[in-house]
Subunit: 154 residues, 2 copies
DNA sequence: TTTCATTTGTAGCCTTGACTACATAAGGTG
DNA sequence: CACCTTATGTAGTCAAGGCTACAAATGAAA
């Protein structure tokens, strides 16, 4: 309250915002786009894991893996199906499409590199797992390559 | 289609899912929690920058910085105010609260370390800026320290 | 002082991704 | 086969975070 006592009204600037601001919007937009694909990547990756481990991926297993209700899983899977990443029919288990498989392979490989990179830096495994789960989706090919360089000791 | 011709029905497992799945839910939940704070961090950081650069932070500047409409900014700022991070009154500019200032300082410092770390690894600046914008929110104190170790050449 | 471009605000809509409560299908067990 | 637990599906709600369209306030310039 008291901090706003004598605050002047906004000052109109005719001139455009200085150069510093140029391009920041694009960065933010790219980041938002990356965000919108996180769930898809995590889901196809987990579905692939479940198929390897149990021979099939069921909604309830995904719910347990993500810590959400089965309803959330079912609705998310419907979106993935709409987007051509999985196939599923009522009361059947969930299968990856070709596109879904490719995405899963890529996501899994990248995730592994990020995790191993963090652990190579000395980050404790538990913490590294948490950080990698979020970081993975924002690692560009260039950054991934840099991480791999470090891992291969080059 | 043809891939699902002879697909067996789901197999019921009485036994709980193997150990591999234990704990993954918690990791995902922590990551979701981190996500829910990204906007707040980016906003207070940008608001602090605008105040330094222009003496004030206006909704329209935030809209330009983030590449969204002013309506989105106004509604987001309302949430930030509800959460005690900013103060603003109708037609006035936006101010950080004490809590907002502290968060801005922390977020900015972490963001800077992440960006410099990526560039130290040889990632081109433009790419590093994009990656850092997303990665910063998923960097734990332990990982941040590891990044700083690398930067200080230790 | 009046005007008018700029800025801010409001109303209403949408998608994503979360939830609870309840309904129905599947399929193992007795 | 019938039963009953488990899994899946449906209905309805909510908040965050986007948007467009329109309305009102601000303040610089005429
Ligand atoms: Mn992953
Ligand atoms: Mn992830
Ligand atoms: Mn930031
Ligand atoms: Mn950011």
């Amino acid at each position: 309250m008291k901090a706003q006592k004598n605050i002047p009204l906004r000052i109109r600037r005719t001139k455009p915002v200085p150069a510093s601001g140029a391009g920041t919007a694009v960065i933010q937009q790219i980041t938002r786009a990356a965000h919108s694909q996180e769930r898809a990547q995590d889901y196809v990756e987990t579905i692939a894991d479940l198929i390897v481990e149990h021979g099939e991926a069921r909604a309830i297993d995904l719910a347990k893996a993500f810590g959400v209700t089965h309803v959330t899983v079912i609705r998310t899977v419907q979106r993935l199906q709409r987007d051509g990443l999985v196939n599923t029919r009522p009361y059947r288990s969930i299968f990856l499409t070709e596109a879904g498989s490719r995405l899963a392979v890529q996501a899994k490989a990248r995730h592994r590199v990020v995790l191993e990179f963090l652990m190579a830096l000395g980050v404790p495994e538990g913490v590294a797992k948490v950080d990698a789960e979020g970081i993975e989706h924002h690692v560009s090919p260039e950054t991934l390559e840099a991480f791999q360089r470090v891992l291969s000791g080059a």
